[in-house]
Every structure is written in C-alpha cells, then in structure tokens.
Symmetry: C2
Subunit: 184 residues, 2 copies
DNA sequence: CAATATCGCATGCTTTCAGTGCTCATTCAA
DNA sequence: TTGAATGAGCACTGAAAGCATGCGATATTG
C-alpha cells in the first residue's frame, strides 16, 4: 500500500537528472530516452513541474528544462505535492491549516484556489472516529521523513539521514513563480 | 498523495475498538453502527483480518470478533500489510527478500503464494533508474515509522513516539494462524 | 425452530491512473 | 524566409483499483 504514482517517479527522476547537470538544459526527449520513460507522458509531468516553478522551460530548437530551485533547500515532499497533491494519508489530515502551504511551490502567493487537486470534502466519520489523534501522529512522522529528504539527497550517495532537520515546516521552493502566476 | 484506503481505516478502527475492550466480543454490526461504517463492507474487512489471524471470530447469536494478538507487539505496519498488501512506495521496494515476511500475520507459514495481492512484476526502468538508491532510503525510513507504532498506540493518548524501537524488523503477529491455514 | 452472526462469492459503480493524439506557439539555425 | 526542433494546451481512451451492496449458505445460541 501507499504506492507512489508513476508520474511522481518520472518527475523525481527528471528533477534528479537536472540537478546533476546544473546550467545545462535537458529536453524532455533526452530524459525520456535516457531512462526509458514514455516521452509524451514525461512532457506532461514536466509541464506541471514548470507551472509550479520547480523547473524553467525554454522552447524552440535546443530548448529544454533547467532546475529552478535550490536542490539543498527543496524537500522531496514539496515536489511530490506539486505532482500528486498534498501528502495526506487520511482525509482528516488536511483539515487544519496544514494543506494550504502545499499546493504551489512558492510562498502563499496563489489565491488558494488554483490547484486542480483539492477535493476538500471532510470525512463523515470525523465526529465518531477513535483513531483520529493517533493516526495524526503517524501522519506527521511520515510527513517529516518526506520533509527531511531534499533533491540533493536524490543524487548523492550520502546518507541524507538527518539533513535540514531545523525549520521542520519550512523547506519550500521560492522563486520563479510570480512570473508564471501573473500570466495564467 | 499516499492516501490509505478506506478499508484500511475501517480495519484499524475496528482493531482499536477491540483493543479497548479485551475479552469482550464485538459484532460487525456493533462496530459499524458505532462509528458510521458501512456494515457490509466492514464485515468484508473483518473477514480478511480474521484470515490473517489478527482477530478471532465466533459465529452465531451473540458472536463477534475478539483481538487475537498482543496490542503492544503488533505494529501498525503488519495490520496494514494484511489489508492492503505490503508497504511499497515504489515497485522496486519489493524486489529483495523484504516483502516475503509481509503477507501473512504469522511467521513464514504460507507457501508464499497465498495472498491475493502480489503482482510481482518488476520495474522496467530498474536498469537505468538513477533514484533507486535514495528512494530506497526514504522507503525504509517511512516503513520504520509504521513499524514503530503499535496497536496500543492507537488507543492511548500517549506519545507512541519511540516505543518498540528495538528489534526493528520484528514485530509481527504470531498466533492463531496455523489453525486457519490448515483448513483453507 | 428461530434469531443472529459470520462466510463466501458475485456484481455494479465510480474514480484514478497510465498513456496517447493532435494542434498550436516558440525558438533557432540554415 | 523556411523548416526542424521543442514545449504548451486540451481532450481522450483503456485499464485497474477502490467502494459498496446483494444474496444465499452455514454455524451457533437460546
Ligand atoms: S476522521 Fe478517522 S476515519 Fe475520517 S479520515 Fe480521519 S482518521 Fe480516517
Ligand atoms: S527502479 Fe526506479 S523507477 Fe523503477 S520502481 Fe524503483 S525507483 Fe521507481
């Protein structure tokens, strides 16, 4: 259980690929052929990552994608959140204010209604659920794991065990969003 | 992303319910009505938990279910594994010998072909995947979280933070399986 | 017997996921 | 200017997973 989607893996692979080659631009075809990913689908994923501000795209011949965030300050969690929606093992995990900061890559820029994933219907059992609290604790622990690992940890053979533990709820991808938002 | 299924939550709720009332037997209807769970579906879940040896069922009037494992020694992970299959964020997580001990609740009794979840097709990108190692580390950390929490932690308001850390790959549900297996 | 359970299997519905097709817009180089 | 390469946008299909229900059989209690 708790399997990631294919899209997520493709996205992570692509981001890892770009992180290994700072400055260079890699096209969707390059990456797709290199790793055996369906080209067409990868393009879809890259588009999404571009919208969220994790990569910068340049069109035309010899175009491609470049990483647009700091690999050491961008957690795996936010990348996945951009591809699959906020991490929530259970429905009630999103109830507090927590899910608000997940959607986009930047800070609280978006009017909170932009993301196309947000089904926002709250659990029916909420009133009578006996496991809410404990499950919440498990959820937070799991979330913390995704938070601790950064893009850098995806390309290095190092531990990646206890990095960026400080500021446990920070770690997001700041730049390159405002520009994209202005347009829409 | 990484949402649990409804079945899992129902199962956990039921187990928590039973753990709070040792000795007493609760019927599927009792539990279903108490928490607002679809009765028919809960019955299906309980059947599954019964087969895996986590609960003991007694039929007939005034029958019901009883917990059949030690709440302090049964991790949340094995319960979920019994309901949704082994925990694997990615396909390649199951390749080693690891998934073998997940299927059932007891020790290595079953011929490893009993579980009705085991699609056992290995990832096509495995040869070229650049994130395999790092993802594996994340996977293990997540798995450890599910391992640390026990059934007992589901009913107590306590931390449940660092219990049963020792013996990190043990923690399974031993008894009440052999009998059920003999039949089939 | 009658009431109350679980058990076992089958079925229908809905949502998600993976993957593809096609067209348009943009860039660069010949 | 032309054309090849590349990303962007939108829609669409097929398959699988998940949720839920129905019905009949069987076991147990009183
Ligand atoms: S309230 Fe209970 S049942 Fe509903 S989502 Fe939260 S944990 Fe699951
Ligand atoms: S090999 Fe790479 S792509 Fe395949 S399952 Fe493992 S991590 Fe995902």
């Amino acid at each position: 259980m708790l399997r990631l989607t294919r899209r997520s893996e493709y996205g992570i692979i692509a981001i890892a690929h770009l992180a290994q080659r700072p400055g260079e631009a890699a096209s969707a075809r390059d990456i797709a052929e290199r790793y055996g990913i369906p080209k067409r689908l990868l393009a879809e994923v890259m588009k999404q990552l571009s919208h969220r501000g994790f990569v910068r795209s340049s069109r035309g011949a010899s175009g491609g994608y470049q990483l647009a965030v700091d690999p050491t300050r961008t957690s795996v969690r936010v990348v996945l959140a951009a591809l699959e929606g906020p991490f929530e093992m259970v429905q009630c995990a999103t109830d507090g204010a927590r899910a608000l900061e997940d959607g986009e890559a930047g800070r609280a820029v978006a009017p909170a209604a932009s993301s196309h994933f947000a089904q926002n219907t709250l659990c029916e059992l909420l009133g009578s659920c006996p496991i809410r609290g404990p499950v919440q604790r498990i959820h937070d622990r799991m979330r913390l794991v995704l938070e601790e690992f950064t893009i850098r940890d995806l390309i290095s053979g190092g531990d990646g065990a206890v990095p960026m533990t400080a500021g446990l709820s920070t770690a997001f991808a700041p730049p390159a969003v405002a520009a994209a938002v202005r347009k829409s």
